[in-house]
């Protein structure tokens, strides 16, 4: 009888885990987002190779409309827009996730410390967080980039540092709820030090909100990187980056005729941001937030 009970229990775990997975797979929002993201990730990796033309070559007729050879037309330097859209995901898909990762790691640490210790630590750090939050991201980023000179690393660090306080609020709220639970007291009564309690005991229990927050932040990071690139502080030429394409060509919109040079990269950015948010929604629902 005892062996029967074990198998029942183990299969129950497996069933429960499979159910979480199935819940995600069944969620239309999550799946739609995941498929779009997967598409752009593939493009970022293989885009240069699957593109019909060399995305960097300036050897084609300038400002051609849509045609069989150039499905999305060409831009003013004679580059193929379709090939550039396919290849343009690479830089943003490196910079934005790294910035997000930095923000999440930093924010998680701040959130754990302020939520666990509370008191003076919490008050001081929380006021600094408030101060950072009161300035628009782009303003801080541009200022820092002008002061320090722009490099990809600086972009990642600046966005990450601005995200950290925002993430820390979410984490802190989750930690505050968690530290009330008896297992935290039990752990302290075993003589565990604060870092162990925070990172080994509490952290695994607040991963749900952190994962959701990470996807939401990723959406904002893509936004921010595209914005900075457009202003000339982010990804640098000759990359086929989408925001760079828009920056290169938006002045032509005045003439009204060369819309394809801007529309297609813009749609690409939109699709990516929307997809990330769809995934965030799906995760949030499964993690019950």
């Amino acid at each position: 009888m005892s062996t029967v009970a074990t198998t029942v229990q183990l299969s129950e775990t497996r069933i429960a885990r499979r159910e979480t997975r199935q819940q995600l797979l069944r969620s239309k929002t999550f799946m739609a987002g995941a498929i779009i993201i997967a598409f752009w990730v593939l493009c970022a990796v293989f885009g240069h190779r699957i593109a019909p033309h060399d995305p960097l070559a300036q050897s084609f007729p300038q400002l051609e409309g849509l045609s069989r050879t150039y499905p999305f037309g060409t831009d003013q330097l004679g580059r193929d827009v379709f090939s550039r859209v396919l290849a343009g995901a690479r830089d943003i898909l490196i910079v934005a996730p790294l910035a997000t990762l930095l923000g999440i790691v930093g924010g998680t640490i701040i959130g754990l410390v302020t939520g666990y210790f509370r008191g003076l630590t919490d008050d001081v750090v929380s006021r600094i967080v408030d101060a950072v939050l009161s300035l628009p991201l782009i303003v801080i980023a541009v200022t820092v980039l002008v002061a320090l000179g722009h490099s990809t690393l600086t972009v990642i660090v600046v966005i990450g540092l601005v995200f950290a306080p925002i993430v820390s609020r979410t984490v802190r709220a989750a930690v505050l709820a968690e530290r009330q639970l008896d297992y935290v007291s039990a752990s302290r009564l075993q003589g565990e030090r604060a870092p162990y309690v925070m990172f080994v005991e509490i952290l695994p229990n607040v991963m749900g909100p952190i994962v959701v927050e990470a996807t939401v932040r990723l959406g904002y990071a893509i936004f921010a990187v595209a914005g900075l690139t457009f202003l000339g502080f982010g990804v640098q030429p000759p990359s086929p980056d989408w925001a760079l394409q828009i920056a290169d060509n938006y002045t032509l919109l005045g003439a009204g005729t060369y819309w394809w040079t801007v529309l297609f990269p813009a749609l690409a950015i939109i699709s990516l941001v929307v997809a990330v948010n769809l995934v965030a929604d799906g995760l949030a629902r499964v993690f019950g937030r």
Binding site: S2, S185, G191, P204
Partner: protein, 684 residues
């Protein structure tokens, strides 16, 4: 509605829940009838289908639940198959339900008056009429100042008051049937007693039939005329309360009654009996007796076919082939295992707490949670800590453990003063003091497997790691009767009792000197409670560990404690050997607490009603803190002077102005009236 029709009639009710594409049977052919004005108790452990029965009656089954067959008739009218609209009418007019947690049943953002008035609005009353009726309804549930209560929000009321409001709403439509689902489980004993009194009183006044669902056999004995015992969705025994409790004819009922520590049961006089095994899994299609797997009397016939319903007398029935031998059910746990060791109080105490005081600051107010409480504990001894919520029990325990620093006072372990907080205590001191929490769900990290939790405790508390730790882990798991297969799973996959075993194993990973047990069994079913209490007694005998045992269940406290301390508003009111505190003469507060507990053997003690509610610890009363509610107040001295804590008898401390001899005289009639058996009827 005809007067002769029963108010509720269930016939062969089968309820299934569809889980992962399969129907799991929750209720198996339940039949019962409740006559007009009758109170019917439904008792059983969690997962037996008590609440499902109630939800089926009001048509509130979860979306995956359905009535597969059978019939439910309320006042002669078939409920199964009614349209949603008809069900709404039924709930509006004929059936009301009161749930366990009154705080959740009330909308926190609507004033109490408007909330109750809503019920009358639905029935077509105008604004003024509704308010007038609300006022009357609240007066009927004995709310002292209904106008002011109507203007307040639910969170501004105590739990007992909230439950009164919920009951007022439930009775507002003058229902034929009132369903009470564990209505007093979340309340303090004194408040519970008042709410139960109120329900009895109202039932006489309204002539409502009541379906009373509870796991507490004492409450059943106090409140009900007939009782049905539910096990695994099957009604296994039914009959008049007196008969079933005194002459049970189903082994499950017999087992349940034996699990409860009562009638002065004590750890040194024998162990509690338990019910071995677990409820059958919902996956099993049961063709045999539902209880056969756990029954000491089971024969082949029990495992082969379902026993029919045997009619023992006209109104007493049991679903057991061996109903005549049910009371001869062999014990699952021998009575004489691991006898506790005698406590030697001539030596120095293990723990000495001196004048421990804790004042919390909250929104600029000072909450006096603990006022100069002193106590001592010797190795191998259990000190029971009792009192209503807010009396300072948990504050005392946590300050001793060092989870926060006391405002004043000291804690000494082995005659050396401990630093106030954990961070400053030495490793040995930390190891010496451990705790078992009330709620095993939150006491174990849900992300860590049991093995990981216990390995870490062994490392921190016993300093063992690596290969020897694995060996010790198995010994440790064995000592709390935790099978090895449970080590690999996470706590969420364990039942409450198993989780509590893991928590106990964690506390015993080192060699603890003192373990705080903070209501360790109050979240568990009685059969599991018995097993856990047995385990604690056994471990105490083996390790000579001292327990600081907090509980609101006086039967449990009496069973496990050598001495008992009674706290009220953060002050020690009485402390003494368990027998003395229980047998009296008692402090008036202890007397009231004891009288509030409904017992299976019948309410021998006359109920003492405490006036009003427990005062705020932010502004404790002058003089004796208990004088505002005391039924034995002798005069101005009580209001003005705080009585000192004096030793009234050897080892018996009390804080009261009334001399002990006077208390003995005053309390004698009540104490002597305790019958060994007798009427359990509340009419007295």
């Amino acid at each position: 509605m005809s007067d002769t029709a029963p108010t509720l009639e269930l016939k062969d009710l089968d309820v299934v829940y569809r889980v992962r594409g399969r129907d799991r049977q929750i209720l198996r052919g339940v039949s019962l009838t409740i006559g007009p004005g009758e109170t019917y108790g439904l008792v059983g452990e969690s997962g037996c289908g008590k609440s499902t029965t109630a939800l089926a009656v009001v048509g509130y089954l979860a979306s995956n639940g359905r009535i597969r067959s059978g019939s439910i008739r309320v006042a002669g009218r078939e409920v199964v198959g009614l349209s949603n609209k008809a069900l709404r009418e039924l709930r509006a007019n004929d059936v009301s339900m009161v749930y366990q947690n009154p705080g959740e049943a009330l909308n926190p953002s609507i004033r109490v008056g408007d909330q109750v008035a809503e019920v009358f609005h639905v029935r077509g009353a105008s604004n003024e009429e509704a308010m007038e009726l609300t006022l009357q309804a609240l007066s009927k549930v004995q709310i002292a100042d209904p106008e002011s209560v109507m203007a307040r929000y639910p969170h501004q009321l105590s739990g007992g008051m909230q439950q009164r409001v919920v009951i007022a709403m439930a009775l507002a439509n003058d229902p034929a049937l009132l369903i009470l689902d564990e209505p007093t489980t979340s309340l303090d004993a004194t408040v519970e007693a008042e709410v139960l009194d109120l329900i009895q009183h109202l039932q006489v006044e309204f002539r409502t039939s009541v379906l009373f669902i509870t796991h507490n056999l004492g409450v059943i004995a106090k409140m009900c005329e007939r009782v049905g015992v539910l096990y695994a969705g099957r009604l296994v025994e039914e009959g008049p309360v007196d008969t079933v409790l005194k002459d049970p004819r189903h082994p499950y009922t017999v087992g349940l009654l034996r699990c409860v520590p009562r009638g002065g049961a004590r750890k040194d006089r024998g162990r509690l009996d338990t019910i071995p095994g677990f409820l059958p899994s919902l996956d099993e299609e049961l063709r045999a007796c539902v209880f056969a797997n756990r029954c000491g009397l089971a024969q082949d016939v029990c495992r082969g076919s379902e026993p029919p319903l045997y009619q023992i007398t006209e109104d007493h029935s049991s679903r057991c082939y061996f109903h005549e031998q049910a009371q001869a059910l062999p014990r699952a746990t021998p009575a004489n295992l691991g006898q506790p060791v005698a406590v030697d109080r001539s030596k120095a105490p293990l723990l000495a707490v001196k004048e421990l005081t804790k004042t919390f600051e909250q929104n600029g107010r000072h909450i006096h949670a603990l006022e100069a409480v002193s106590a001592a504990l010797w190795p191998g001894e259990t000190l029971g800590l009792v009192g209503e919520s807010g009396s300072g029990k948990t504050t005392f325990a946590r300050a001793v453990l060092g989870l926060f620093a006391p405002t004043a006072g000291t804690v000494e372990l082995d005659a050396h003063v401990l630093p106030p907080t954990l961070a400053k205590r030495t490793r040995d001191d930390v190891r010496g003091l451990q705790i078992v929490f009330q709620n095993p769900d939150s006491a174990l990290n849900r992300r860590h497997a049991v093995r990981r939790i216990l390995r870490r405790s062994l490392k921190k508390l016993a300093g063992i790691s690596g290969a020897p730790a694995e060996e010790r882990l198995l010994t440790l798991a064995g000592s709390v009767r935790l099978a090895e297969r449970y080590l690999t799973v996470r706590p969420s996959q364990l039942s409450g009792g198993l989780k509590q075993r893991v928590a106990i194993a964690r506390a015993f990973a080192g060699e603890p000197r003192l373990v705080v047990c903070d209501e360790p069994t109050s979240a568990l079913d009685v059969s599991v409670q018995a097993a856990i209490l047995n385990l604690l007694v056994e471990l105490q005998a083996q390790h000579r560990v001292a327990y600081l045992f907090i509980s609101h269940d006086l039967g449990v406290v009496r069973y496990i404690s050598d001495r008992i301390a009674v706290l009220y508003l953060g002050r020690l009111m009485e402390m003494g050997p368990a027998e003395v505190v229980f047998d009296g003469p008692h402090h008036p507060y202890t007397e009231a607490l004891l009288s509030a507990v409904p017992t299976i053997d019948g309410g021998g003690r006359a109920r003492i009603k405490l006036a009003g509610e427990i005062p705020s610890a932010a502004a404790p009363p002058t003089g004796c803190v208990f004088h505002t509610r005391c039924h034995r107040r002798i005069g101005a001295i009580c209001d003005q002077q705080e009585p000192p804590l004096v030793e009234v008898e050897p080892g018996h401390l009390m804080r009261c102005h009334i001399p002990i001899e006077e208390l003995r005289r005053l309390q004698r009639p009540a104490t002597e009236a305790v019958p060994l058996s007798g009427s359990t009827k509340p009419a007295a």
